[in-house]
Amino acid sequence: MDYKHLLLLCVSFFGFQADALKLEYASMLIPAELTEQANAVVRFNEENYTVKSQNFLSVKTFTAITILNEYGLRNLNTQRAYSPTTRISRIEAKVYDKMGNQIRVFKKKDFKDVSLADGFSVFSDDRVLYLNYTPISYPFTMVMECEYHTTNTAQMPRWTALSGYFVSTQKDVVNITYPDNVGFGYKELNFDKKFDIVKQQSTGTLSYTAQNIAALKGEESSPEFYKMAPMVSFRLDKFSLEGVDGQATTWQEFGKWYHDKLLTGTDELPEATKIKVRQLIGDEKDKVAIARKIYQYVQDRTRYVSIQVGIGGYKPMKAADVDRLGYGDCKALSNYMRALLAVADIPSYFTLVYAGSNSRRNFLTDFVTPQGNHAILAMPHENGYIWLECTNQMIPFGFQGMFTDGREVLVIKPEGGEIVKTKNFIDKSNSRVLSGSYAIGADSGITGIVKAVSSGARYDEIYETERLSPKDIEKYYKDDFQHISSLKIDGIEFRNDKNNIEFIENLKLSAPRYGSTSGGRIMFAVNAFNLFSDSPKRYRARQNSFEVKRGFYERDEISISIPDGFAIEALPSDSSIKSKFGEYEAQVVRNGANALIYKRTLLMKDGAYPNSDYEEYRQFCEQVAKFDSAKAVISKL
């Protein structure tokens, strides 16, 4: 008999005396394979969903989670959101120590009731009940029970069998029951064979049980967790969204519903504004030129203000109100732009999207439900669309940047919805072209000029620099050129070419000691202005696949002059690497006795790769960084 069973016996023998002892929550009873790379373990989670009708869903949840250490504390979810359409009827929590002794009990009144401030909304009617629990020791187990009901069935909760990186699941169950007249549907995602998940289904019910799923390790450049964790999404053909009923099995139907119920009647404008728009257009006939003018008009007289109340979280505020007040959220401003374009007889379509610069998240295209977290506008042009981001007052016309590029979105037309992929900024379209020259002096100092032209995602990364204060601009460049000590910026000139979507920087730089001197020799890195510095973390055994999320292309040509009285002693040899991750080439050539020309190109490709490729990728980056810092030696004659 091992220690664990002995203890079980002892405690069950004496356990009846202590009502508050729950042996099943003792942390030492967790199977070792679940604690191995975990900071927390979901001991038992059960979610029961009962769809009573098209507009009534009741939910009962029970979650017991053991937090093993302080890193696991972030996985302790003690909050439950509510709103006028989602009511919490019961919520309570109990805390057990590592032996399973109950140490705290929290009732509903102990939960804090706060506005769910998302950080950017001026006003929202969403609120949250949460518990601010400070653990006194680890490990501990929290059991939380909650019951709530909602009239919103358009966006059903999603069940995930894993709740985060470094979190294991001992047992996780979901049961859903539904009437036969609502058109219940579901979709399994990331159901890999390695996960032990059992599905049971009969008329009007569906359940899943996941058991003993060891934590996934969070590693650099891993795909987003939603692409890794096994989960099930649910949907209804007949749904209700903040009191507005709908029915859709296809995107075409869903889009039509959205258009008819949420967009129709929001696009009227006062006559005075229509006249203004016509004046603005003047004799211009070209549709893109007209749209450009109207876009500028919107950028000049609106600002982003988020107000989310009830159906207002989905239905845009009236265009006439945006016109009068000069503000609105993404829906309101996109819809306003749509209304203004309509004055010029230019059709455009309200579009829902998952926005985010760090990753391109797609709509689940075979799963018809309200999705996305942002709205933009799609203006048909030639065979595709010009995408208009209406919440940013600085961005060029037709440029959506990294925020909404390269992903599947829902374009809502009067006749119905359509899934379309937005323009993608990959690889060579994200370019930065560097040209310039520098002179290295006999004292090893340098003075130089450099011009950089950025486009695509590289434009997006840099174009707002011109709006910084002089102090912040200087700081930006000192960070950018941190490999040059005592850098002095002698001149900065920007040109933001919004028509071609190019950002041009012209810089004058100097530094007193760039190279290192020794015995009449100067050693210096030839590539002074553009060091590749990504160094992916090394993993002994990489577990996850990985993604290079934003490829780019760099082309540099720099001429270098060396001081009189010096001769070139040694130059780095030509270097070139070609791999599936990208291509690199650099060479230094003599240009007469006292001059050099340095040429470099780097292409980093967008891509998703298996874990087995990771080491090769890491070495590719390491090689590029090494070649980038190659040094030349010049010596005194």
Partner: protein, 304 residues
Amino acid sequence: MIKTYWLPIYAMCMLIVTQASAQNFNPGKVTVEQLNQKQHPADTSAAAAILFKKGITRFEYKPGEGFIMVTDCSQRIKIYKKEGYRLANTSIPFYTGRDNEKVSIEDACTYNLVDGKIEKTKLKREGEFIEKTNKFWSRKKITMPAVKEGSIVEYSYRITSPYFQNFPDWTFQETIPVDYVEYQTGIPEYMTYRPHMKGWISPQVTSKSVRQKHSGKTRVKNVRTGNMEDDYYNIEFAEHIKSYVLHDVPALTDEGYVNNISNYTSSISHELATTNFSDTGIKNYASNWESVAKTIYDNTDFGA
């Protein structure tokens, strides 16, 4: 001869100058020059600036009820750049306990220059929100209409509070330049507050005392008979008035190695030390760390 001859004119000029500048700090008197201004004269990188910010906290005597703390504040903000748009939204926290504090927005307008003419857009109810932040605090939020680069937004609000310990904190310095800032306190002799000043820039302080007299009659219910009766009151007390003024306060921006910028922001707070009303006598409030600790310890919601 010459001296005496010039003196009155000089005095007159001074009078005009002070009046002109004083007028500039009154709500509603936005000028075309102010609207035309493209950048802040002293800080060209400023995204916005506070042209003036004025506040006064005093205690109003209400017959039959006693004192109530009233704070009036008005601000005029110039928006130079789009980055300054955030200044067109504001939120004013207020305490909601057994008796509520109240916040009312008095006058809130956005001024724009349209074809050389001043266009005024008033804030309406649709731009006002109350957010119940938690059990004890709510926030009045406003978002100003028709804000563009170059706009001037102006608003006044009044906070009334029955909680004398909640004396508002006043900041003289902001993350944007402040051209003129003025704060006044008017404290009746029945209360003692300890002012605490913070920050590097100290305002100019002037103090005076004035006698306040309130007399008249009010209708009150006789507890014995249940009838409404006239109640004559006649109170007279000294009000200690202090005013704090600063001109051209530079923007205070966060930098490295600053753990909390508010420790460096020029501001004033007031701690209630004692009250001495005729009916309750002298009452001491938090006056040392022991009693602060006790108050905190006795409060079931502290740190919850």
